[in-house]
C-alpha cells in the first residue's frame, strides 16, 4: 500500500504496462525528455528508450494517425493529445479511422489504441484550454471513453484501457493531479464500463463525473448532517455507460441529480436523464435534475471558473431543492 497522487498513479500504470508488453508505446508532444507537458510521463523515456517513448511535432492529426496505423500492425500505442480542446485538430482520425476500422473491415483489424488527453477544467487557462468534451467522443460507436476521478481509478482504468483491443479515449483531469489516495501494491485493474458507487445512501442519487465526484461527496457529508443520505455514483466510463448501476440506485432513492463539468445542452446529463426516464420513470418522485456550468465558453481566470462551475454548496442546494 502506498499513497500516490493522480499523476504518479498514471505514470505507474504506463510503466507497468510498458514493462509487461513491449508492443506498448507512448507518443505525443513533449512526452519524452520533458516527461510530459504535465509530468505524466516522467521517467518513461529513460526506462523504455526514444523509439517507444517518442516526442512528436505539434501535429495532432498524425499523432492519432500514427497510433491508428501502429495499432493495425501489431502495436499497442498510447497517443497523447495534450489538451482535450485540441481534439478538433484530429477528430477524423479518432471518429472515422480509429473508431470505425474494426467495423468496416469486418473485424480484420483490432484497434488497441489509447488516446489520452487532459481536461483542464477549472485551471483558469482560458477558453482554448478548459473544455470537457466527453460527449463529443461518447457519441461515436466504436470508441470507449473513460474518465477516472481518483488516483486508484486512474491507474486501474489506464491499465485496462491499454489492454483493451478497442480505441479508448482516456480523459485525465489536470485539476486532480495532486489528489492522493492509498493504492495497494500489485496489479490494479478496473474494468471499463463499470460504475462505482462512491457512497451509499437512500434519499437522492447523484451521478457525478470527474472533478464533480469529490464535490458530490463533500455535499453528501454536509447533507448527512441534516439527515439527508446521498448515494454518489461515479460512472468512471462515459461510454459504454453502466446504466444498470444508475437505474438500480434510482429505484432505491427515487430521485436523481447529474453533476458534470461539461455543458448541459446535448450533454452527459441529458443522456443519463433519458436513460432514467426509459427504465425507471415510475420510480421517480421528482424530475431528474442536471447541474452544470452555464452554456458559455470558459473565460480566462480562476474567478470565472469558481463562479461558473458547480461546487459542494451548489450541489447541496440542488439536492435540497429536489426534496422540497
Amino acid at each position: 500500500m502506498a499513497s500516490k497522487n493522480y499523476c504518479w498513479a498514471l505514470i505507474d500504470a504506463l510503466r507497468e504496462e510498458m514493462e509487461r508488453d513491449p508492443a506498448t508505446l507512448l507518443i505525443g508532444e513533449d512526452v519524452g525528455a520533458a516527461g510530459g507537458a504535465f509530468g505524466t510521463s516522467r521517467g518513461l523515456l529513460d526506462a523504455f528508450g526514444p523509439l517507444r517513448v517518442r516526442d512528436t511535432p505539434i501535429s495532432e492529426e498524425i499523432i492519432v494517425g500514427l497510433g491508428v496505423g501502429a495499432a493495425m500492425t501489431g502495436q499497442r500505442p498510447i497517443v497523447e493529445i495534450m489538451f482535450m480542446d485540441f481534439l478538433g485538430l484530429c477528430l477524423d482520425q479518432i471518429f472515422n479511422q480509429a473508431a470505425k476500422t474494426h467495423y468496416i473491415y469486418n473485424g480484420a483489424f483490432k484497434m488497441p489504441l489509447v488516446i489520452r488527453t487532459s481536461a483542464a477544467v477549472e485551471m483558469g487557462i482560458g477558453p482554448h484550454h478548459s473544455q470537457l468534451l466527453e460527449c463529443w467522443v461518447g457519441h461515436v460507436p466504436g470508441l470507449k471513453v473513460v474518465m477516472p476521478s481518483t488516483p486508484r481509478d486512474a491507474k486501474g482504468l489506464m491499465k485496462s484501457a491499454i489492454r483493451d483491443d478497442n480505441p479508448v479515449v482516456f480523459i485525465e483531469h489536470l485539476a486532480m493531479h495532486k489528489v492522493k489516495e492509498d493504492i495497494e501494491d500489485g496489479e490494479v485493474l478496473i474494468p471499463i464500463g463499470k460504475a462505482d458507487v462512491k457512497r451509499e445512501g437512500r434519499d437522492v442519487t447523484i451521478v457525478a463525473t470527474g472533478l464533480m465526484v469529490a464535490r458530490a461527496l463533500a455535499a453528501a457529508d454536509t447533507l448527512a448532517k441534516d439527515g439527508i443520505e446521498i448515494e454518489v455514483i461515479d460512472p468512471r466510463t462515459i461510454s459504454p455507460l453502466d446504466v444498470d448501476t444508475i437505474i438500480a440506485s434510482v429505484k432505491k432513492t427515487n430521485r436523481a441529480l447529474v453533476v458534470t463539468s461539461s455543458l448541459k445542452p446535448f450533454g452527459f446529463g441529458s443522456e443519463v436523464a433519458a436513460e432514467i426516464m426509459d427504465r425507471a420513470f415510475f420510480h421517480l418522485d421528482a424530475p431528474v435534475q442536471r447541474l452544470t456550468p452555464p452554456f458559455t465558453p470558459a473565460p480566462f481566470g480562476k474567478a470565472f471558473d469558481n463562479y461558473l462551475n458547480p461546487n459542494a454548496d451548489s450541489i447541496a442546494d440542488a439536492v435540497r431543492g429536489m426534496l422540497k
Binding site: 491508428v68 468496416i104 483490432k110 485496462s160 483493451d164 483491443d165
Partner: protein
Amino acid sequence: MNDFIELFERMMLIRLCEEQLNEAFAKNLFPGYIHSYLGQEACAVGVCALLDDRDYIMSNHRGRGHYLAKGMALEPMVAEMFGKETGICGGRGGEMHAADPDLGILGGNGIVGAGLPIAAGAAYSAQLEGKGRVSVAFFGEGASNNGSFNETMNVAAAWKLPLLLVCENNLYAEMTPFSETVGEEDVARRAEGYGMPGEIVDGNDVLAVREAAARAVARARDGHGPTLLELKTYRWGGHFQGDPRNYRSREEEKAWMEKCPVARFRKTLVEEHGVAEADLAEIEEKLRGQVEVAIEKALEAEVPPPETAMDHVFAASGVK
C-alpha cells in the same frame, strides 16, 4: 521476361475490372458510386511490383488498382465492391474499403488524405520491428493539399520512416483542376522542403514507375527514410462514374487516352521484347473471363443480413 508478363497481367486485370464495373454501373447493377482507376494502372502496378506480402499499403477511395496490384483475390474484392456477404470484408466496406491483413493491405478510405498518417503509423511499426518492411501511402494530388499530407511528410522525414509517399497526380482534385488549387503544380518539389527526396515520374510508364519505386523501396528498407514519388497520370473517368466532366474537354481526355499505359506497355513488350501479340491477347481473354465470372458471382451473392449491422462495432476482447 516473366516479371514483365506479370506486370502486363496485373495492369490488364485492373483495366478489365474497371471497364466491366463501369458497364455494370451503366446497367444500374452497381449499388453506389464507382471511383474508377481507369488510366492509372501503371501507378499501382509499378509500385507494388517492388513489394512483398509483408509490406504495407494504404489505399484511398480509388483503391481497386492498389488492391489488385498488391495481390488481393479478385472475386472477394469484386464482391466487396458490390457490398455482398462474400466480399473480402463481408460486404460492410463496399466500394471505398477493402483490406487483407495477410497481404499487408490496410484498407481504403472515404476521407481524402486520411490514409497518409495511418500509412506512417504502419511504417513506424515496421521501424520498431526493424526487419526491413516498408509502408506505402497511395494518394492523389488532391490529398496533397490536405493538412494530413503536411503532417505525414514532416514526421516521415523527421523519424526516417520506411515510407513511400506515392502521389498519383491525375490532374483533377475531385472535380476541380489541380492547377487552379495550387501555386506550384509539381507536388514532388515540396519534398525538398521537408528534407526528403522527391521524384517526378511518368505515371503512364510502368517500367519508369517501377524503377523509381525500386530506388525508394531500397532507401526505405535500408533505413534511410521516406521518398515522395509523384506519378504524373490521368483519370480517364470522372471523380465518380456519372460525373458529367464539364470541367474539362473531351479533346483533353482523348489526348490522354492515346497515352494509355496498358496499350503502351503492350507495344513495348511486342516491339522491344519479342513477345507475341497472340500471347498477350490470350492473357487478356483469360483475365476477361475471370472478371466476368467475378462480377457474375458478386451479382448472384447475397447482401449481408441487415441484422448483422451491429456486428464488430467493438472487438470482443476487453481486459486480457
